[in-house]
């Protein structure tokens, strides 16, 4: 009987691998989906007297885009953001992540500013709260202030159309 054991163990392993083929190991769901968006309370880039508060954005669907002037893919997605911001009731706010404010303002001036306001997170603390592990990342937050979707990486027109826009629509 013990000679049949290796075969049995292998079959279990094969089943595990077969099921595993259907999963994508690169998919990393955010741990914060359906949880309340963490507080921001950071000054805005263009007006340090004003503060970006998650609570004051209740009642509307909004996007938080994590960006920085040193981030090359952010530059790539900027035209797409400029295109979608403000249209169809899309409210886009930015989180300026681990950046120098002067460089950030110059960057926006040079390439365009799609954000209604960008909070300055110079040491990255709020980024940690949001589970940011790369730049750029985009969060979709609903009327009740809960994170409903996270997209890591830059947004292309296709990604906006196929993945993010449906989520935004369903929440509005």
């Amino acid at each position: 009987m013990r000679f049949k054991l290796p075969f049995a163990i292998f079959i279990v392993l094969a089943i595990l691998l077969a099921v595993g083929l259907r999963r994508d190991p690169k998919l990393l769901p955010s741990a914060l989906i359906d949880k309340p968006a963490p507080t921001i309370d950071l000054p805005l880039l263009h007006d340090s007297q004003q503060v970006l508060k998650v609570e004051s954005l209740r009642g509307q669907v909004w996007l938080l885009n994590v960006w920085a002037s040193w981030c090359a893919p952010c530059r790539d997605e900027l035209p797409v953001l400029l295109e979608l911001a403000g249209k169809d009731g899309v409210r886009l706010y930015g989180l300026n992540y681990k950046d120098k404010s002067d460089a950030a303002r110059t960057w926006l001036q040079r390439w365009g500013n799609p954000y209604l306001g960008s909070a300055v997170d110079s040491d990255g603390r709020i980024g940690i709260d949001y589970g940011v592990y790369g730049v750029p990342e985009t969060f979709v937050i609903d009327r009740a202030g809960r994170i409903r979707y996270k997209h890591p990486g830059p947004i292309t027109a296709e990604i906006w159309r196929d993945r993010l826009l449906p989520v935004v629509r369903s929440l509005q």
Partner: protein, 668 residues
């Protein structure tokens, strides 16, 4: 035209493989001599067609034929010719073709160098290898065709991944595959033995040189992969417990158990079912490794063009091969029977313990590698398992194996009384204890000082070397004809064992020192500025632009001095490969007997200033030296005279299991 000839060759190879897989097997079963005799010529034919296909692909690369999709994806007109050839195995399809060619090459070698084995047995072995070939050929022809055309042809190729444009990377896949594929020979021998119902000592004897040769190639292949990671990836590390590294390490662990188990089966007829199972498992782990790398089930730095469709085929192939062989094992193994009896403390029992420890270690690595997948499938959670797990689990398991490694050679077969073992090994124990106590006093301590773990590791390293030396000394001493005479009379395989076991000690020493006592600094330096690390002074002399055949680079000059005397001048580079616009940091390493100096260029940090990463790694080269010694030991063991004598002098062993008479040997 040439690519089409390549495809046609593969089709022909498939047809030959189908013949080779069926007729000889049937002939061996029903005693049809004509069919049995087909096996060897068929193996030759399969090799010829596979080699032709490979030659066609190589030609397409060297000729810059960008109408072939695979060539266009992995090559570039400006790529140096040597790398254009190596690019044949730079991507998924080509590497599968390489796998196939090496499989047919090993089968041909078996066909040519096995004249002393019974024809029916060889026929079965070659048939099993042919079925493996059928699987790979089907995969190549239908799911991974390297000769697919690209219409219209690309004007220029996408270039070989810059990480692969390196001499180490050129040899690493072929040598590694020689190891993976070589274990298919041991596998085929085991299956043939199970099929024929004879599993006597003779089978182990025939199988041994092939298995040790495959083991040697796998050792070298893993060594090359680590060395490449060390000096190309630029992190200063050499082993990351990445799934693909683990995929090569598991067959190595089980393969090591196999070569030791074969020794017992050959000498004493014991462990027969163990040995057969180990032979099946080693090759199964090779196949599992192939699956893990190409199917996308695990994230890894090594991931090839991942494709779940291909993954499904490889999985099905694996289920057929591994499942089939384990089923055969489950059916036939109960009839294998036991071998000679042995007492609780004897060379057999020590080798059995060795089998168990190595198998457990391999299972621990397998669990760690597959755990993320299992957790994702069963619980939907994402997790990564890395060095903390592997180091915590693997090292303690291997400790008994290293200790046993010293005791085994001096223990007698059948019964090894403890007092005698203690007497024989007392000097080795003393020497290793002394090394563990004295070396910490003489070697540089590094920033973290000596820990109990490092001292214990030194003890093990010393034990490995001292026990091998003691064993050799006892063998040479007090013999008629003197020392040199006795040395010359020892079989080469015995020297192989000594060298390989000592190599492990050297490796442990190097790994302990390089990992535990390395010093590192990451800092920003202006041109002309210096920094000091571990007694060395590193002066950054600025950066100059240079151009290579297919890249542009910034080349830094770093002068290293020690106590005022010049030690080395290093030139780390930051390259941009033009075709892919991909940046690569090429580290500069000065390899020394007692330390490696490692400098890598980071990013520019303002005018004339750059960030540099500097490591001083003590005894880093001893890691490579240890592995080379292991491989050398394997080479010596595989080319032992008594395997080659068979070619000339011995008559073919009779089918029916009469054990071939062995020359009286002294141990080993």
């Amino acid at each position: 035209m040439i690519p089409e000839i390549g495809v046609f060759s593969l089709v022909l190879a498939l047809l030959v493989a189908l013949v080779q897989g069926t007729l000889p097997l049937a002939g061996a079963h029903w005693g049809v001599a004509g069919w049995v005799r087909l096996a060897r010529p068929a193996a030759l034919g399969q090799f010829v067609f596979a080699a032709m296909a490979f030659a066609c692909l190589a030609w397409s690369f060297l000729d810059n034929d960008f109408s072939v999709l695979y060539v266009a994806s992995n090559s570039h007109a400006e790529l140096p010719a040597a790398y254009r050839f190596a690019a044949v195995w730079g991507g998924h399809e080509g590497s599968m073709l390489l796998w196939l060619c090496l499989l047919t090459a090993w089968a041909l070698a078996v066909a040519l160098f096995s004249r002393q084995l019974p024809d029916a047995y060889v026929a079965r072995v070659l048939a099993v290898m042919a079925w493996l070939g059928v699987g790979f050929l089907l995969f190549l022809l239908f799911l991974s065709n390297p000769f697919t055309r690209l219409m219209p042809p690309a004007l220029e190729g996408r270039d070989l991944n810059p990480l692969l444009q390196d001499p180490g990377m050129v040899v690493h896949p072929p040598i590694l595959y020689m190891g993976y594929v070589g274990f298919s020979v041991a596998f085929a021998f085991a299956i043939a033995a199970l099929l024929s119902g004879e599993l006597n000592a003779a089978w182990a004897r025939w199988s041994r040189p092939w298995t040790v040769a495959a083991w040697m190639f796998l050792t070298l292949g893993i060594l090359l992969g680590s060395a490449w990671a060390y000096y190309v990836l630029g992190w200063g590390g050499w082993w990351f417990w990445d799934p693909v590294e683990n995929a090569s390490f598991m067959p190595w662990l089980v393969g090591t158990a196999l070569i030791h188990s074969l020794a017992v089966t050959e000498k004493r007829g014991a462990f027969r079912s163990w040995t057969v199972l180990l032979a099946i498992c080693t090759f199964s782990l090779s196949l599992l490794g192939t699956f893990l790398v190409r199917s996308g089930v695990l994230t890894s730095v090594h991931a090839f063009a991942v494709d779940p469709g291909r993954g499904l085929f490889i999985l099905a192939f694996m289920v057929a091969v591994v499942g089939g062989s384990l089923l055969l094992f489950g059916w036939r193994a109960p009839r294998i029977g036991l071998g000679g009896r042995f007492s609780v403390l004897s060379r057999e029992s020590l080798l059995l313990a060795n089998n168990v420890v190595l198998t457990v270690a391999a299972m621990a690595v397998l669990i760690g590698t597959l755990y993320p997948l299992a957790l994702d499938v069963l619980a939907g959670q994402k997790i990564s398992v890395g060095p903390p797990y592997f180091e915590a689990v693997f090292v303690p398991i291997m400790v008994p194996a290293i200790f046993l490694m010293g005791v085994g050679p001096v223990a007698r077969w059948k019964q090894a009384p403890l007092p005698e073992l203690a007497r024989r090994l007392r000097w080795a124990l003393a020497a290793s204890g002394a090394a563990a106590l004295l070396l910490p006093l003489t070697l540089p301590a590094g920033p973290r000082g000596w820990s109990a773990l490092s001292t214990f590791a030194l003890l093990l390293a010393g034990w490995a070397v001292a026990s091998a030396a003691t064993h050799a000394w006892q063998r040479f001493r007090g013999a008629p004809g003197g020392w040199l005479d006795r040395a010359r009379r020892q079989p080469r395989g015995w020297y192989g064992m000594l060298v390989a076991h000592a190599g492990i000690g050297v490796f442990i020493f190097g790994a302990t020192m390089a990992n535990g006592f390395d010093s590192r600094q990451e800092l920003k330096l202006q041109a002309g500025e210096s920094t000091a690390l571990a007694g060395f002074a590193f002066r950054f002399d600025g950066v100059a632009p240079v151009s290579g055949p297919n890249f542009d680079a910034q080349r830094a000059t770093v002068r290293v001095t020690r106590k005022g005397e010049a030690v080395a001048t290093l030139h780390p580079e930051k390259r941009i490969y033009r075709a892919r616009q991909m940046a690569l940091s090429q580290a500069a390493i000065d390899v020394g007997l007692t330390r490696d100096l490692f400098v890598a260029l980071g990013d520019p940090a303002g005018d004339e200033a750059w960030t540099l990463r500097i490591h001083v790694k003590p005894f880093m080269a001893w890691i490579w030296a240890g592995c080379l010694l292991m491989a050398l030991g394997g080479l010596l063991a595989a080319t032992d005279r008594r395997y080659r004598l068979d070619l000339a002098a011995r008559p073919a062993a009779v089918v029916g299991g009469a054990t071939a008479t062995l020359r009286p040997q002294e141990g080993a």
